[in-house]
Each structure stands twice: as C-alpha cells, then as structure tokens.
C-alpha cells in the first residue's frame, strides 16, 4: 500500500513538472532510464530549433539527445541513402564540427520512418572524448534527425534514444513537427 502510494506520488510529480519526462518502455531499455526535457542548447541556424533531453538513470545516464524536423529534403524517393547522408544531416556538427565515425551505420526504423543511424567519436575542445550517435530518418521529402552524445556506451545510447523516439508521445510530436506544426 505504501509502495503504491509512492508510485502514485511519483507519477503525479512527473505529470505536474514543468518539463516533459518520459519513462522508456521496459522491453527496450533499462526501466530506470528517463529522458528529462532541457532547453535547446544550440544557437539559431538554418533549421528551426528542436527539442533536447537529458537521460537520467539506466544505460544512457548522463547522455543528451537533440531531435528536430528538417522539412525540405531533396531525396524524396531514395530517402536517407547512405552513411555520408547521416554525417551531413544528423546534427552531430552542432555538438562539434570535429567528429569521426567509428563504424559503418545501420538501417533503423522509427514508426513508419526509415533511415540510418551511425556512431561517432567526438573531439571536444577540453580534450576529452565522447561518444555520439546520429540518426536520420525520412518521411517523403522531409527529414527527422536525432543526435545523442554522452560518456557511456554508444550502442546503449542508441538503443535508449531509439526506444525513446518510439514512445507514443514522441511519435506524435515527430508527426506534428514534420507537418510543420
């Protein structure tokens, strides 16, 4: 009874908080991983700002995720064709212009969107190295991109990020963002 009350209180607190917080699906990532929304950290560029999240707990603990729609993409039919495309569009360059891929990318799906994900090493100015994941997905002539960075394992970060994008709330937001809303 006391446990149920605690869970209820936690849920109420989450709902009442000013920022979004999302629990990952248990089957896709450790249940304790939670993405808390933070302010978009990058200066204005050619694309409207997206949303940013900080991972608390689980395998992605401490990682940050940046997501946004990029409407107007010429490859309407071929979609995200190769890893070079991911290098170009996935917003890794917002974190740092100095990055290098650690391996060939792979095909990924989020909802009905198809694309590719690729993992990177980032060279940060303070000399430390971080891992990053870039994801680029296409819907007709538009793109949806995600970039995650952190000190943890890139594979785990990618799984956690993709699981988060598959949540109902995020999928609804992605559709709205790609619709220009």
């Amino acid at each position: 009874m006391r446990r149920a009350a605690a869970i209820a209180a936690t849920l109420m607190a989450l709902c009442a908080s000013g920022v979004g917080a999302y629990q990952l699906a248990p089957s896709s990532a450790p249940p304790s991983a939670r993405w808390r929304e933070i302010a978009w950290p990058f200066p204005r560029d050619g694309w409207p700002a997206g949303r940013a999240f900080h991972c608390e707990g689980g395998a992605c603990d401490g990682a940050e995720l940046y997501v946004r729609a990029k409407r107007g993409f010429c490859n309407c039919d071929s979609g995200v064709a190769d890893d070079d495309e991911v290098d170009r569009v996935a917003d890794i360059d917002l974190i740092t212009p100095r990055f290098s891929a650690t391996a060939p990318g792979e095909v990924v799906h989020v909802g009905e969107m198809h694309g590719r994900a690729r993992r990177y090493d980032l060279a940060i100015l303070d000399g430390t190295s971080r891992a990053a994941v870039g994801v680029a997905l296409s819907r007709r002539c538009d793109l949806f991109v995600a970039a995650a960075q952190g000190r943890g394992n890139a594979n785990a970060m990618q799984r956690a990020a993709l699981a988060f994008l598959e949540t109902r709330e995020m999928k609804a937001w992605v559709v709205a963002a790609l619709d220009g809303n």
């Binding site: 039919d77 360059d93 990055f99």
Partner: protein
Amino acid sequence: MFRCVLTAAALVFFAGSTFVHAQKQTIGAPPEASNMKLVGSNDLQGRSAYQPTIHHQGDRWIAYIGHHGGTDDVLAPVNPMTGKAEPNGTSIIDVTDPAHPKYLRHLPGQEGKYESGGAQMVRVCDGKTLPKGDPNAVYMLRTFGSQAHEIWNVADPANPALITRLGGLKDTHKSWWECDTGIAYLVSGAPDWRTRRMTQIYDLSDPAHPQKIRDFGLPGQEPGSTGAVPTELHGPISTGPNGNRVYFGYGTNKGGILQIVDREKLLTGPKEPTPDNLRFPEISRLPMSAFNGAHTTFPMLDMPVAEFAEDKDGKTRDIVMIVDEAILNECGEARQMVWFADVTTETRPMMISSYTVPEASGQFCQRGGRFGSHSSNESMAPVYYKKMAFIAFFNAGVRALDIRDPYHPKEVGYFIPAITQATDKRCIPVEGGERCKVAIQTNNVETDDRGYIYIVDRANTGLHILELAGAARAVAGLPKN
C-alpha cells in the same frame, strides 16, 4: 443613405473578388502581367521543366529544355509524337518563330520521379567553337537523372545522336560548359565523396574523348575526411580564360556560400583532393545567412554604376547576383530571394542589396506551391547583360529587374502564366492528411540574343515565350513595340 450603403456593398464585393482572384489561380483566367507579354507557348507534353537553353543554330533558334522526373500521378507521360510513355528527358523545340514554337523531339531521360529522374540540366556548344570539336556538329551536354552526364550531337535537332556518357554517379545538377575552351564544370556526385554534389572538371573540347582534369569541392567534402560536411554544391559559372574566375554557388535554401575561385589555379594546380589542394585556387568565400542558399551565382563584372560616376575611385563594380531556391510549399521556410554582392575587392565580398517579390502583392503564401526565387537567366548576350535580370519566382511567375544600379535593383515587369488542365497540384501536410492547391510554378528562365524570354514551369504547365513591353523595354534599350 441607401446610395451610400449600395456603394459600400459594391466596394466590399469588389475588394472581396479581387482578394479571391489574387489568391487563387483558376483555369481560363488570363495571365497576370506588367510590362511583359506572351508571344507563344508550348505544353512540353505536360512534363515538369527545369533548365531552358536557347541556341542559335544556323538560321534557326532551338530551345533545349531539361525536365525533372515524372510525378506520383504520371511517371512517364505519353509522347504524342511516338504514342509511347517516355520518362521525362529533354524537349527540343524550334523557336525560330517564337509565336509558333514547333516541338521537334523528346529525348527520354532516366526513369524516376521528381529529382530522382529526368534530365534536368542542358548546355549547348557548337562544334566549330570547341577547340577540337567536329565543326559540323552541335553538342548538347545534358544530365541523365542522377546517374550520368551525356553529350549528344544535335546538329539535326530532331534526330540527336549520343556521343559520350560519363556515368557511375550518385547525383548530378547544374553544370557549366565553356564553349570556347571546352572546359566543363560538371556538378556530380562522385561515389566516394562525402557530399551529394561536387564538381568534376573535364576537358570536353573533343566531346568524343573527354579528359578528366580533377575533382573539386569544399574541404571536408573530399573522400576520407571527417567532421562536419560543408554545404553541397548547386552550380558554378565561369568567366573563362579572360575573366579567369569561377563563381561557385553552394546551398539551396540554407547555409549558402559564394566561392570565388582562380580558374587557372583550379585547372593547373595540384589535383589530389586534399584539403590544402582544394583551398589552393580559392580567392575568397562569402558565407550567407543560414536562412538562404545559392542556386545561381551570376557574375556581372566591371559594371559602371551611374551613382558613382563622379567618384575618384570605384566607378565600376564587379557584381555577383546570387539567387536562392525556395523549396517548401506555401512559405514553409525563410524567404528565398535575390542578393547582389559587390566583389570588386575580391577578398572582401559584401552583400549590397536584395530583391524579393512583395508577398502581399499577390497573397503568394496562400496561392499554393512554392513562393520565392529559384533561378535567373544566365545568358550574357548584350541585349540584357548588366542591364536587366529575369528571375523565376515560382508562383509569382517571372520578374524583370532593372539592375543597372545593382545597389538599388528595381522590378520593372512581371508575367505569371495562366494555369491549365496540365498544371499539377502542390500539397502540404495537414493533420494526418494533405491539402493541395494548383498554382503556376515558374521554375527556370533564359533569354536569347533576340531578347525573347523563355520561362518554364515545374508544375507541368509548359513553356511560355515572352517579350518586354512598355517602359521595361527602355531599360534594356529596346525600341518601343
């Protein structure tokens, strides 16, 4: 009192009908025009059109018009001359009599939809002008979808013959060909480069035997590089050996760059695509706002500027007109427009002016399709060069600019063709579905040495041949008509 009410009601009705007319094009309505008038037209078999190139060929004038790929509804329109469905390619039209253009031939392109098919780019050089060309030949350089560049002999424009094919590419686009030297700057997607579009430079002085000179792009785009990938190429324009400059435009609707390059160093410098070698021929760059790209970079060097005529220095200026490309329908992006850069001091290029169609003049954001600039005429024939520029502005048609003072460009005419049954719809996503509108989408424009203006439609409405009228003729020094 009753009279006042009637007048007010009539005014409201008139204002309302004007508003509706301005917002929505309807089939059967006349074109909208000021100081430009229609001379002739052709439906281009209902194919989405990109680059028109007009070539004076013997005693004839031939228009070569590149096409985008097919649409979702019609992948390969039927060519009424053959009775067969043919993937969009190149339309070849005799425009000697511009009032009665005669469709000669459709040369099919790559299968595919929109930018994934067709043969959108085309340039033409006479064999007698090319240093090692067959003097009896006329060569048409065209893209073949995203896969290849092709050269055809179009001496008989109704019966082209394939000469050369340069394939194995992942993309192509808006190439440039110097007819007096044969040097071609082919916008290509070399498979090993990190960008979709870069430059492959070829010596095509003998079109039957192309000689590769080098690959070129911005450092960070070359094979093996890491980190951020600079904005992809849209197209270059060269001033040839006399001007010794090539102006490269990078970007479409974002992150544009004007790059000024020393042509001689580009052609003779070290060719291995290392960052140092790619930087070697570069004189300067003008980075644009993240909101705008550079579709066309049109040089107009040594322009006398009347306002500066009494100044001790700087009476003439080197100007580059930069045209962005709008991509999204119904104003779903920052405005794409026209910019003028003063590049007289080449290492310190500076934007000096801009031009856009006023949106409120036609409620263009409500009309459907794209609103914003796309391209300019690229002919350097004396009839208009450094005096007037023509800008394709999608649903706002073509715009005629007086650019004699590039610090203060001024619109002096426009023409928005009427839509037809062939005009394709343009849609935007709305709440899980789509909302579509039909509007003209003037995509590209070119002029010929006689002063005719050729505009083509991205939404399948065809070719319209125009001439200047009224006060706009005086700007170009043309006699009254």
